[in-house]
Symmetry: C2
Subunit: 161 residues, 2 copies
C-alpha cells in the first residue's frame, strides 16, 4: 500500500480534512453574516454546497482521528478498503464538483455586483455587504482546492489497490 | 490494455470529442450572438473557457480520426502512451475544471438576471437577450459533462497501464 500525502488514517489526511472543514465553515459563516445574501440564488447555492462539505469533512476528520488514536490502519483489509474507497471517491468527487460550481457561480455574481453593474453597486448601497461576499467566495475556493487534493489522493490509492 | 468507452483512437472517443467540440462551439456562438454579453465578466470567462475547449477537442478529434484511418493503436508502446496520457490527463482536467467553473459562474449571473433581481430584468429590457444566455449556459454544461466522461476514461486508462 502506497503512502500518499493525505491518505485516510494519516496525520496529513486529518490536517487536510480539518482545513476543508474550517474553511468551508468560515465561508458559510461570512455569507450568513452578510445582509441580503438570500436575494441571490447563487449565494444560497454556495451555502448549501459548503454546508454539505462541512458535514462531510467533519465526519471524515472524526474517522481519521479515531484511526490515529487507536493506531488502526484504515487501508486494510483489501476488500473492506475497496468498498470504503469506492464510496469515498464517489462522494468526494460529487462534493468537489458541487463546491467548485457553488464557488464559481457565487464568484460570477460577486464580480457582477462589485465591478460590472453600471453604477458601482457595492459603493452606492452601504447596507450591501460586498466585502463579506468576496471573503466568503475566496474561502470557498481555498476549501475546494484542499478537497481536490484529497480527492486526487483517494483516486490514486484506489487505482493502486 | 482495457477497452473503455471513449478511449483515444476509438470510434466512441471520436464521437465524444466531436460532441464536446460542437456543443462548446454552439455555446460560444449563442453567447457571442447575444447583445451586451461583454458587460458581465462571467460571460466573457465562459467564452474564454469554451473557446479553449473548442480548440482542445478539435485537436484530439483530428488525432482520433488519424488513428482510425490508419488503424494505428494510440495506446502502444507503453512508454510513449505514458507520456501522452500524463500530458493528456493533466490538460483535460484543467480544461474540465475551467469549463465547469465558467459554466457555473455564467449560470449564477443568468439566474440573477432571470429571477433574482427585483424588477424582472429580462422582461423589462427587451434588447437584453436572456434566452440566448440560458441556451449558451445549458450547452456549456452538457459539453462539460461529455468532457468529464472522457476525463474519467483517461484516468482509468492511465491507472491500468
Amino acid at each position: 500500500m502506497k503512502e500518499l500525502f493525505g491518505s485516510p488514517g494519516k496525520l496529513s489526511g486529518l490536517m487536510l480534512r480539518l482545513g476543508q472543514f474550517s474553511l468551508a465553515a468560515a465561508s458559510v459563516g461570512f455569507m450568513l453574516s452578510a445582509h441580503n445574501f438570500y436575494n441571490s440564488t447563487a449565494f444560497c447555492y454556495l451555502i448549501a454546497s459548503m454546508g454539505l462539505q462541512v458535514l462531510w469533512s467533519f465526519g471524515l476528520a472524526c474517522l481519521d482521528l479515531h484511526a490515529l488514536r487507536t493506531k488502526r490502519n484504515l487501508q486494510n483489509p483489501v476488500l473492506v478498503s475497496l468498498f470504503v474507497f469506492g464510496d469515498w471517491v464517489a462522494k468526494r468527487k460529487v462534493t468537489a464538483f458541487l463546491s467548485l460550481s457553488g464557488a464559481s457561480s457565487a464568484a460570477g455574481v460577486t464580480v457582477l455586483y462589485a465591478r460590472d453593474l453600471n453604477t458601482n453597486y457595492c459603493k452606492s448601497q452601504p447596507d450591501f455587504s460586498c466585502s463579506r461576499f468576496q471573503i466568503s467566495v475566496a474561502l470557498a475556493f481555498i476549501s475546494w482546492f484542499l478537497l481536490a487534493i484529497s480527492c486526487h489522493t483517494m483516486l490514486w490509492l484506489l487505482a493502486a489497490l
